[in-house]
């Protein structure tokens, strides 16, 4: 090929690249997401809009996003590096030999022990003292819910048996029995708890 032919080839390829990139951008960047948005809204509107939970006309949360629970009346979730900020998700990123990790765990442990009198250190589940990845982990392990039953029952004036049954009713197992870990969703558990307390004429 002569130099002029080569030059023409270079320009031709750049021109083709530009035209194809524009076509692909229109398809993948506009048509594709908009069609998926339309289909999602049509077929699965609840999920497509964030699995929102509405109570008395007000959005109280998403079933998928954890909230900060500090009141002893409620079941409490995992420590969060962001204080459950859903719009700025982050993990603590603390490494295994970082002194801050260990002091954070120790502080969380003291908090759990103080909030749950009678709970021994050896029974504290690890997910109540180690922070999550997203900072908005909506779940805790079954064990983490169970150790809070005595406190939650006493605080809400309910019998432990009722609260225990509530936890049991909210348990979710593994996918196909093999994947993931059994857990309870803290927000949904607390909503059920509120309904129970409210319905029983409690403090609401």
């Amino acid at each position: 090929m002569s130099d002029m032919q080569k030059q023409a080839g270079v320009i031709r390829h750049l021109w083709t690249a530009l035209r194809l990139a524009v076509v692909f951008t229109v398809i993948a960047g506009l048509i594709y997401p908009l069609v998926i948005t339309g289909l999602g809204q049509l077929l699965f509107p609840a999920q497509a809009n964030g699995s929102l939970i509405v109570q008395n006309g007000q959005v109280v949360g998403s079933a998928l996003i954890g909230q900060a629970f500090t009141s002893p009346r409620f079941f409490q979730g995992r420590p969060s590096a962001t204080g459950y900020a859903a719009n700025a998700s982050s993990a603590s990123n603390l490494g295994p030999t970082n002194p801050t990790l260990i002091s954070d765990v120790a502080a969380a442990l003291q908090g759990v022990l103080a909030a749950n009198p009678g709970l021994s250190v050896a029974r504290v589940p690890v997910d109540l003292v180690e922070s999550s990845d997203s900072g908005v982990d909506p779940d805790i392990s079954i064990q983490a819910a169970l150790v809070q039953v005595p406190r939650v029952a006493a605080q809400n004036g309910l019998s432990q048996a009722i609260v225990l049954a509530l936890v049991k009713s909210q348990e979710r197992g593994r996918f196909l029995g093999l994947f993931g870990a059994p857990h309870v969703n803290v927000l949904e558990l607390n909503l059920k708890l509120e309904a129970l307390v409210g319905g029983g004429g409690g403090q609401g």
Binding site: A28, F44, S132, D137
Partner: protein
Amino acid sequence: MTLVGIGGIVLFLVVVTLVVKPVGLYLYNVFDGGRTWLDPVLAPVERAIYKVGGVNPAKEMRWTEYLFALLAFNLVGFVLLYPVLRLQGVLPLNPQHLPAVGAHVAWNTAVSFVTNTNWQAYGGESTLSYLSQMWLTVQQFLSPITGLAMVLALIRGLTRKNATTLGNFWVDLTRAFLWIALPVAAVAALVLIALGTPQNLAPYTIVHTLQGAKQILPQGPVASMTSIMQFGDNGGGYFNTNAGYPFETPNAASLMFQLTLGFLVPVGLTYYFGKKAGDTRQGWTIFAAMMVMFMFGVFVTYWAEAAGNPIVSHLLQHAVPNMTGKETRFGVAGSSLFETGTTAVSWGSTAAANDSFTPIGSLILLFNMMSGEVIIGAWGVGLIGMLAFAILAVFLAGLMVGRTPEYLGKKIQAYEVKMATLAMIVPTFVILGFAAWAVSSRGGVSGIFNPGPQGLSEVLYAFSSGVGNNGSAMGGLNAASPFYTWTVGFAMLIGRFPMYIPALAIAGSMVKKQRVPPSIGTFPTNGWLFGLLLIGTVVIVGALVFFPALALGPLAEQFAMQAGHLFGGVPK
């Protein structure tokens, strides 16, 4: 480790093995003139695209022309992406009124998404408008199909005889886009929505929590991005914490679906390769070598994460697994499997915080990337790397027995070995060189988050991820600082192009060669012996060079952790 955890991992490995052949056959039908049931819909679209692009689909390209078309396409992709990030503040689909992305981060992000790395120096939900996310999604389609085109050219180079051309880049690209990326991404996006991932264009939702606080829930076109992000082995998630964020991965079902999506094309390509070579055992041998290394990694990681941090176990007075930076719904086994998977497949979506993994767990993640991302690897590029190792392996075997090495009946000569070695050496120099620069410069050190050996691991991780076009990170590192936006940015470019130019050069040289019939002296490249040799080459030639650095990082940290030693430093 629990039996259930192990059982889940084994089931996943079985599923991955079962999809190899069907996916490989589908690829064969798409690229080698077979028929697929999508043809009636897509063939007219394909013809229209060629018309718009001025493409003559019958015209074959030599390796230099193929390479030039590929580079031109990626350059244009960069040019179309960067301005949108910089101008998002005045462009539509920005209900949160987010300002323009800064110049350093925008450059880094554009490079990152064009090179299939998806390293994220930003937090999606707090930085990007819906339009920017949708524009990144475009690159999540285009960068994997570019990688796929590269391997198609290499495979043609290895399997055609007495030829000069490697196919037509525009045709490979268009067919990969229409027949593979687009339909699977669309179906997968709907599955993800059904499993709980949002997909809307509404502003962020303000929520009054049960305790009376205010919480802002991000919204947006999450599912359409997540599906191609996972299927295309891109890894750049919608949210800062990526697949760990419950909107992106609401449950273990979604996690396993996304993990399977990411494996489909890379494992299917091994079968496609064998089919093109006229001997499917060639492909199975490569698949087996990849899977053996992957399995080893998964179980070591799972073991390390389940064994946990003895310092925490001491505090809690009972043995606990490492749950720092892990989500409850995935558990230890699911998180370990996902993280090992996304580092092995050069993919980089994370469902757990790698900075908080145990040192041995991090070591495996690092090894997966430092191997050159050949343990499965992303679309095309993983197989390219593995085929480069295969060429080195037959060369080494040839040296041992004193014969001219052959691969697929073609003689391997000095040129091919030089090119394969080049593809291997360049990333090594970049990872170790940039890491050395980082730990000896103020800009590099000030971006480190964790004290002690973990800090070095963060730096090694960043450059391994950049060069390997992986994109996952040890999140503590300040990736948005100018030092790391530029150094990791260049690492991504070097990892993509100077590594794959030699691959196409090999293709261009091999395509001209004759095929010599196998003789008694031919070293067979299909079978367990070659599989072992291949693994040996990856481990010894590819990864051993990193051993000193790994000894100072994760290994030192592991011993310190076992001894209960904490690293003072200045915790930030």
